[in-house]
Symmetry: C2
């Protein structure tokens, strides 16, 4: 056995969760559910949710692997706070999924390919990151602000709400 193969097998043995995310991505890609993206969520040493991109299958632009996995993990645990979980993804999450990981309060993210690897096969993660960082030349979404006073009244109602559940 060559040293390279031994290292590769070792790496595989050390990362069963990444392997599971890769298998999930392969399944979705081969069934034409969406791009080559998979994710798993681990709680107490066990995978509690798997997800793959199913934008095409479901006609849902938000159905990225991480979003699908987070929704399933939260449903399974019966809570929106996953602060005792970790997530493995085949790719550095796009800003949508990266922010979702924050909202779910998952403290640890493991990923394989980078946002630039994703851009190289046609997925615009890098562009959206550039927009948010204020570094994109042309921005694809025009933003218009209006009616802030009416919306602030809404926010004040929240602030003063007696039975408000902060989260």
């Amino acid at each position: 056995m060559s040293r390279e193969r031994a290292v590769s097998m070792n790496a595989a043995a050390a990362d069963p969760f990444l392997q599971a995310a890769i298998r999930e991505a392969q399944k979705g890609m081969r069934h034409n559910h969406g791009g080559p993206f998979g994710a798993v969520i681990v709680h107490a040493g066990h995978i509690i949710a798997r997800g793959h991109n199913q934008v095409l299958k479901n006609n849902d632009p938000t159905a990225h692997a991480e979003i699908v996995a987070i929704r399933r993990a939260a449903a399974r645990l019966g809570r929106f706070d996953l602060d005792d979980c970790e997530i493995w993804s085949t790719c550095e999450p796009c800003p949508m999924c990266f922010a979702a990981i924050h909202w779910a309060r998952i403290p640890l993210l493991h990923y394989g390919c980078t946002r630039d690897d994703a851009a190289a096969i046609g997925f615009d993660d890098a562009l959206i990151y550039a927009v948010i960082r204020g570094e994109a030349g042309v921005e694809p979404v025009t933003r218009l602000q209006l009616g802030r006073p009416e919306c602030l009244a809404l926010f004040n109602e929240w602030r003063e709400k007696k039975d408000r559940q902060s989260y």
Copy 2:
């Protein structure tokens, strides 16, 4: 009638879609579905989908108003590409929702309150924006890269896939 009131009524009359987003937010907040956030999606001059935050109701950390509205609009039109739609939201979208608007290819976003207004009532949008911009002091999510070669093999399978549907 004072000039201020006339302007305010005019503004309300001019922005029926923002008013609809506000009503949606009120409904969700008053039923304890989640925070004071609402969104509507408009196609050909008509509202085709409404959404409000239902993180608490559904135990789903991704169930923000804009995500809910986008999923409903895409399901209603039977396509993931909403490039002929516009979105109205009671608040500047968080990075998750802002990126989702990009993935849905919605070209025009109208919003009321700002990310700082959201932060002021306890929602961490501003922190997540700061993390993505590389301007946060302490980052709540630790990122670890691993297994890029195996994940690149997956991406290559996508690139070479004969029946690949690019999107």
